[in-house]
Amino acid sequence: MQQAVKANAARALDVEGLSVRYGTSTAVDGVTLAIEPGEVVALLGPSGCGKTTLLRVIAGFVRQAAGRVRVDGATIDHLPPNQRNIGIVFQNYALFPHMTVAENVAYGLRARGLKGPEVQARVSRFLDTVQLGGFKERLPRQLSGGQQQRVALARALAIEPSILLLDEPFAALDRNLRLDMQIEIKRLQRTLGLTTILVTHDQDEAMSVADRIAVMHKGRVEQFDTPVAIYDRPQTLFVNGFIGTTNLMNGTVASLQSGTATVALDAGATLTLPAPAGLSVGTPVLMSVRPEQLVLSAVPGPGAWRIEPGLALPIGAQLVHEARATDGTFLKIIEPRRAVSNDAVRTYCTLAADARPTLFPRTT
């Protein structure tokens, strides 16, 4: 009984100081992640950032040079992939082309020595879970991309893995199907309470599916936090630039008092902002502010700077303005379309009331 409960319980996954080297290049550089049981974590980053390598280490396909991987506290580094009980869905699904859908799903069960009726029952259960109950006798090539992915998912889930790994699972799907599958995977993951790691280069995908996102860059984790925190409070300039759209404005620290800095922007305004550690008076800084956190105004005011308005593009329910500050910086400003009034030419820009700009020291 104790064991049965444990088999269905979500597992914690700990990656500690993990490094992978290919020859002289370091693909993964001292990555540490503590993943809670039942959590969905997205490894997000540009191609070549080491996210897929990290996934392959967890699956056991790649050996690390240093560091450990633990599932529920027990290291799994010495185990070959076939003894780790980790489910993985590949980007190209890697379904066995010579086997039917049912045989694909049964493969992992047969490898575990399960026989006849038990295999059939589990295959039916997991194919029903991914809504492909009627497709048992089809070959993978007779299925659409979305259906193939469901089969791959059912195949990975049928072995009741301790951890589920998804390698760019939505990359090969078209836009509409992608959202459906994201919802589907999220739903399944919730129901089964599986600890899940998702590798992606698509920030929207990471934002919508993951509980926490690890933004990776050059083999390191730049920030590991909730999607909202990563969007609103990027810790590094890389995260700031990689997630969402942002405006960067040059400035200099004019004065510092207890956690706030007064920054003189090159564009001509002086702003008081929360200061990160390591700033001193005279430090050149970059202020990062999201396009929706800027507002346009027709009249000058405190904290406003002069701009030269450019194009305005309606995108969906929003209007995207392009503008140029006096120091030459190009700015993007987003506002809801209904707020637009055409009565005056607005040549001033200021921070919105709820704006959360971030300061980064500028290296020259």
Partner: protein, 300 residues
């Protein structure tokens, strides 16, 4: 439809109407030279061979079924047919047993090592069969490399008799025909998605299960192609069969040679040639039928 077609400035008929028949005719005519070449250098000699086999005498003057009756009525003929087919099957088995693991090693090798391996595999093809066969005489002879080594190691006290035995012939044919097995096998295997092996492993399968449930079934088309080539090539390998096997081991190609160039009984030689052709074609079509049944999904 007519209104949609822009008028041709020179008044020529558009290719959509009436041009179809002419282009089919043109394509058919284009294939004509090749068809004629095939007919004259391939089909005609074959028909002549069939024609010649239906003459009773060596001078090819009296038509009749005499030579067929003579060949098919002789138990010795069946022994030679069986020996020839068995030689082919044994060589095929040996090339699979040695070639398949080699192909797996190739698959796992680094790209640099793969280049070296492919050179080693292809190299025998650059040498004449005669040279390779005589090299095997040096290796397998009474005072050859194998016997000297085994004697010095004390494994045997008397030199083994390898030349002019079927064992020696199968050994040398295995080496000589190996590229024909490896090249199709490697070409099919290296097109397999490497993720399939990882997927199998992640699902809990051992290396052996992955090999037999995933890699072997998916490499079937290459394996079948290799078997066909090795079988057809080793059953008809006249030079190796006679140089290594000598005159004591009689296979169909040797029989053809004796009948046509030693005793000048061309009708009988024609009968043996057609028998060889039919037997090899039978085995080859059986193999490729099995291959299509097991391997059809790969190209789908």
């Amino acid at each position: 439809m007519r209104t949609m077609t822009p008028p041709s400035p020179d008044g020529a008929a558009s290719p959509a109407d009436g041009g179809g028949k002419r282009s089919v005719l043109a394509e058919w005519q284009l294939a004509l030279p090749l068809a004629l070449a095939f007919a004259s250098i391939f089909l005609a000699p074959l028909l002549m061979l069939v024609g010649v086999s239906f003459f009773n005498d060596e001078k090819i003057t009296q038509p009749g079924f005499g030579q067929w009756a003579k060949f098919l009525g002789d138990p010795f003929s069946y022994k030679v047919i069986a020996d020839t087919m068995l030689l082919g099957l044994k060589t095929v088995c040996a090339t699979i047993v040695i070639g398949y693991p080699l192909a797996l090693i190739y698959l796992d090798a680094s790209p640099r090592l793969q280049k070296v391996l492919i050179f080693i595999i292809v190299m025998p093809l650059l040498l004449s069969v005669v040279v390779r066969t005589f090299a095997w005489i040096v290796v397998l002879g009474r005072e050859g490399v194998v016997n000297t080594l085994l004697l010095q190691l004390g494994i045997i006290s008397e030199p083994l008799r390898l030349l002019q035995t079927e064992l020696g012939l199968v050994i040398s044919l295995t080496q000589i025909e190996m590229p024909l097995m490896l090249l199709p096998l490697i070409s099919v295997m290296s097109r397999l998605d490497p993720n399939l092996r990882d997927a199998s492993s992640a699902l809990g399968a051992s290396r052996w299960r992955t090999l037999f449930k995933v890699i072997v079934p998916l490499s079937m088309p290459g394996l079948v192609a290799g078997c066909l080539l090795v079988f057809a090539s080793s059953t008809t390998a006249f030079i190796s069969q006679t140089v290594i096997g000598g005159v004591r081991l009689i296979y169909l190609p040797l029989l053809i040679w004796q009948q046509s160039l030693v005793v000048f009984n061309w009708p009988f030689a024609a009968v043996v040639s057609l028998t060889l052709l039919v037997s090899v074609l039978t085995v080859v079509s059986a193999l490729s039928y099995l291959g299509r049944r097991s391997g059809g999904y790969v190209h789908g």
